[in-house]
Amino acid sequence: MAVSFTSQREIEVHRFSLPVTVLVPLLAVFLQAFIPLRFPFFLHFDLPLLVVIFFAMARRNPTAGLLTGAAIGLLQDSLTGHPIGLYGIAKTVVGYGASSLGVKLDAENAGTRLLITVGFYIVHQVLYFTIARGLVGLDLHWSWPHELIAAGANAVLGVFLFAAMDKLKQRA
């Protein structure tokens, strides 16, 4: 018998309307590009990543999760000036992982969301840096303290953002 940490309520699968599916990622990418102009500290946040994690965990479908991650990542890549695919690959993996994990964990719990976001943020950054350095040859500076603080900040923002976005869910 397979061991699962989910209850009957927790494995509810959600879906989203088409406008939400299209507009929320677009809005996240837009805000990520726009807010740092006024508040430069916002560069430490990664709104598109939070949206990927949320959609993936709510849908609980690995294929949908990885495709959502790829689409959002590629969109984000196209604004950076770097080769397209850096964020794409990292968010593809995160989307797949979040949706796979969402099946096994209580994705509605704030504490779980906090930990998951911290974990996936670090995974995302490790992947991004690895690809950027290994495949593209970018000279990026890795700092564990910075990444951990950013992971914590993103996780806190994620808890509030996920709670707000829960209203957009529709039961499948």
Binding site: Q32, A33, L79, I89, Y128
Partner: protein, 403 residues
């Protein structure tokens, strides 16, 4: 077999998605041309995002304008008085600077220097950023329809901002000078040392290729050298904030002059002119020659036969006395732009490397770095500067007379 496919379906799709993106990355890394394969995706993304950014920026500017121009007018009267006083002071300064600039132009024309002048700029508004810590890029609300092209320099009222790297129909992408893939020819204002300005991954500005044995002062201004053929010479980049000694080169960290994190409006230099500076007046050549004759050590005049009864004939070989000879520091602003070409934020014109700055007190040979080629192009009729020993003879003591 079907069970196997169904069991590993998700992993297969994941592997396929990653594989495709890696192939795409490899293609982009290999083909680094302007006809980039990813241009279509970038156009779609920018087209999707920038209209909303433009709308919000304009709405914000409109609201801010109504508030500032019609509602919040507290302190305007006092500010007006202060500004009028400032205008009076600036008018006085302008008269002096104009004279200096005209003199510099005459000398520059005589020396045959060509200088890049900013002849046309386009104002643009910053509407977005890359949204990534690893990429320092901003988007402007002007594109190819407004005459923007790649490799145009972007400046602000405070200093250099970056250059255009991609142009879309109604927006464009600017690579900031603190991006790690950026590079700008730069020189230190006082020491005239030339280097290459680069960005670090952390967003710091570094002036590279300054030899370790050189001395760089904290707070010294850094200007564009013009060697990159993108930024005209003499635009302010920043000031020296930190100097660390490396094995071969100094690690000079700069504080940027422009607020790269809070950009709102910028100027895109859409047209530059490579020309000799204009000179005022029709009799310029003669006047410039006169000035140069007065200032440079001259050939001794032929001794004139003293008239009978003349009490004080000039002694043989008397040119200008050493004390009358000008120091070379008087020609340091020889490449100042014309007053009409002075731009907001434009620093006093950079000095030409062909006329090295030589303070009489601190004169020392300055090695010209081959890393950056200066924009100023001395023509073949460049007048040789006298050596420091010639140009700076020991000043005679007061009361001394030529022997």
């Amino acid at each position: 077999m079907e069970n196997l496919m169904g069991r590993y379906r998700n992993v297969s799709i994941l592997a396929a998605a990653i594989f495709l993106q890696i192939v795409g990355l490899a293609v982009q890394v290999k083909v680094k041309s302007e006809n980039e394969s990813s241009r279509l995706i970038r156009v779609w993304a920018v087209t999707a995002v920038t209209p909303l950014e433009k709308a919000i920026v304009r709405l914000q500017a409109g609201g801010h304008g109504i508030w500032r121009n019609y509602l919040y007018l507290r302190g305007v009267r006092q500010e007006n008085q202060a500004l009028q006083q400032q205008i009076q002071q600036l008018q006085l300064d302008q008269v002096r600077l104009k004279q200096d600039a005209e003199q510099a132009q005459r000398l520059q024309a005589l020396l045959g220097f060509k200088e890049q002048f900013i002849s046309h700029t386009t104002a643009a508004q910053v509407i977005g950023s890359s949204g990534s810590e690893q990429s320092r890029i901003v988007y402007l609300d002007k594109g190819s329809n407004q005459g923007i092209a790649t490799d145009m320099a972007v400046i602000s009222a405070d200093g250099v901002v970056g250059k255009i790297i991609r142009v879309f129909a109604n927006s464009s992408e600017v690579l900031l000078i603190n991006d790690q893939s950026s590079g700008v020819g730069a020189l230190l204002e006082q020491s005239r040392l030339q280097g290459i300005l680069k960005g670090k991954a952390s967003g710091e500005l570094i002036l590279d290729k300054i030899m370790s044995d050189e001395e760089v002062k904290l707070g010294e201004k850094v200007l564009t050298s013009g060697g990159d053929q993108i930024f005209p010479k003499g635009l302010p980049i920043g000031t020296v904030a930190r100097v660390a000694t490396g094995s071969q080169f100094l690690q000079v960290t700069l504080q940027p002059a422009a607020a790269l994190n809070h950009l709102e409006e910028v100027l895109v230099i859409t047209q530059k002119q490579d020309r000799e500076p204009a000179t005022a007046g029709g009799s310029t050549a003669a006047r410039a020659a006169d000035i140069l004759a007065q200032r440079l050590p001259s050939v001794p005049d032929k001794p004139e036969t003293p008239a009978p009864g003349s009490a004080s004939a000039p002694p043989q070989g008397s040119g200008p006395s050493p004390a009358q000879r000008p120091s070379l520091t008087q020609t340091q602003n020889a490449d100042s732009p014309a007053p009409k070409n002075l731009l907001p934020g434009a620093a006093p014109a950079a000095k030409s490397p062909a006329v090295p700055a030589q303070d009489p007190k601190t004169a020392k040979p300055v090695a010209v770095k081959p890393a950056v080629v200066p924009v100023s192009k001395p023509s073949t009729n460049t007048i040789e500067q006298p050596s420091p020993s010639q140009s700076q003879p020991p000043s005679p003591a007061p009361g001394d007379t030529p022997q």
